[in-house]
């Protein structure tokens, strides 16, 4: 009887695995097909794939309410009352804490020399820049880059997958617009971030590190997106759809830039063609 049960479980789990595999393949195929459609127009993407639009709109509505009551007012005060240099230093500080994640992603994007520059930036700004409050590295000729795992995934997703196609569209609580690709990237970035790992490893008091970092990130990000989001909201008839489109296009642009840079083969072909013309 035990053997029978084990067999049953085994076959069941096999069936489940097969089912998961099949649906994953189906999803991938569907994504590719939809992505393919997206590339036909001259301006890029057609409609964003949004199979869970109803729950997405629900989360979107909650986000807007929370934003209206709690976050936007704080961001307005921050923008209008905190001196400009202080805001800049807060941004530098947060950017500096994000450098290791960018460096790791740059390694996985096949650009170790850029990753080295990012780490150099991190060490220069953490010391000479007083724990990142001042971005002195830029004035030393090391401009800032920002990479995330969503971009890394998008870059390696393959030729058949348009950068506009990040899997299904997803509205995350508090975070806002995302998709399967970028939400996965967000989790990866969280997991590899030394400034998420260290506080746990060394048992730092989260009240003095993680909470202020999180709070500042929210306020800083919201104050900087205020103008764009207000504008988009005021000038659209369906804010949800307009933001969905704008988000997808912006992400695609970043990923497309990565791919074109990394595609040495096409670069070589281009040079060959130039040589032939000459």
């Amino acid at each position: 009887m035990d053997a029978g049960l084990a067999l049953m479980i085994a076959s069941l789990s096999k069936a489940v695995t097969a089912g998961v595999y099949r649906s994953a393949v189906a999803a991938a195929v569907a994504a590719t097909v939809l992505g393919g459609c997206a590339s036909s127009g001259d301006t890029g993407a057609a409609e964003v794939w949004d199979p869970i639009e109803t729950p997405n709109r629900f989360v979107f509505a909650i986000n807007r309410t929370v934003d209206m009551i709690a976050i936007r007012p704080v961001a307005v005060l921050y923008r209008d009352w905190v001196p400009e240099p202080a805001q800049k230093s807060v941004r530098n500080l947060l950017d500096n804490l994000g450098e290791p994640v960018t460096a790791i992603n740059e390694v996985f994007q096949g650009d170790p020399s850029r990753a080295a520059t990012t780490m150099a930036r991190f060490f220069v700004n953490s010391t000479l820049g007083l724990a990142g409050l001042f971005d002195v590295a830029t004035s030393f000729g090391m401009p800032r880059t920002k990479e995330d795992a969503g971009q890394t995934i998008g870059m390696w997703a393959g030729k058949g997958v348009e950068p506009e196609n990040g899997g299904f569209y997803l509205v995350l609580p508090l975070v806002g617009p995302s998709n399967a690709r970028d939400a996965t990237g967000l989790m990866i970035d969280y997991a590899i971030d030394p400034f998420q790992i260290l506080p746990i490893a060394f048992n730092w008091d989260w009240w003095w590190f993680s909470v202020p970092r999180f709070g500042l990130t929210v306020v800083d990000a919201r104050s900087r997106t205020m103008f764009a989001l207000d504008d988009l909201e005021k000038n659209s008839v369906d804010y949800y759809a307009a933001l969905r489109s704008a988000y997808t296009q912006n992400r695609a642009e970043l990923i497309r830039a990565k791919r074109e840079k990394a595609n040495t083969q096409s670069e070589l072909e281009r040079r060959d063609n130039l040589a032939l013309v000459r």
């Binding site: 001259d42 301006t43 890029g44 986000n63 504008d231 659209s236 008839v237 912006n250 970043l254």
Partner: protein, 205 residues
């Protein structure tokens, strides 16, 4: 609402708003010979003069509307922004739609900026593409903050060389409108009439 999404995205979205063709004086001798680049430069120069000379209000809006009428192909943009739904409309609806969109755009652009804040536009590479489209790359330099990447789509769709789209950090105005309009149409019975009514109501406000 979107709060913690990656900073690049947020920057991009900020850019999407911070920028418009409005606030752009021009410095582009390198590509001055190209007609597409010229069109972008002169449009930016004209817009900046208007913003400098007029405070926000009806006068500015009217002046902006004239720029839109002479430098942009509004009919082409309007048709693109309706996408497949364009074929569902009759002549009268098209005329009403285009008029409402024009007013909406003029108002949006004239309200977007309180006053001129020293931005300059650097026109860069011009890439000719298939079917007579030119992509004009440019950079909006701000007095504080990162420069913003602007891409202009210029083409001759039967009305001379005109601007038919502006991409801000990769976000196309026409594309975003199309998604916006299409979603509104789908959620309002699948016909264009409710959208036109809504746009007209907004224009009258």
């Amino acid at each position: 609402m979107p709060l913690l999404a990656s900073r690049r995205v947020l920057l991009g979205l900020v850019a999407a708003g911070t920028v418009t063709l409005l606030a752009l004086p021009v410095a582009s001798p390198a590509w001055a010979a190209d007609p597409a680049a010229d069109l972008v430069s002169s449009t930016a120069a004209e817009a900046i003069q208007i913003v400098k000379a007029n405070p926000p209000g009806p006068a500015r809006q009217a002046a902006i509307q004239r720029v839109l009428q002479t430098k942009f192909d509004l009919a082409y943009m309007g048709q693109s922004s309706l996408g497949a739904n364009w074929n569902k409309t009759n002549e009268a609806q098209r005329a009403r739609f285009l008029k409402a969109v024009e007013t909406a755009e003029a108002r949006a652009y004239s309200e977007r900026f309180g006053q001129y804040e020293g931005q300059t536009l650097t026109v860069g590479k011009v890439t000719p593409r298939a079917n007579g489209v030119f992509i004009v790359e440019s950079k909006l330099n701000q007095t504080n903050g990162q420069p913003v990447k602007l891409e202009w789509e210029v083409r001759d769709a039967g009305r001379g060389l005109r601007i038919t789209d502006v991409k801000i950090e990769g976000v196309s105005m026409v594309m975003t409108r199309r998604s916006d309009f299409n979603s509104y149409i789908q959620n309002n019975g699948g016909t264009v009439e409710p959208l036109i009514n809504e746009l007209e109501a907004r224009a009258a406000r």
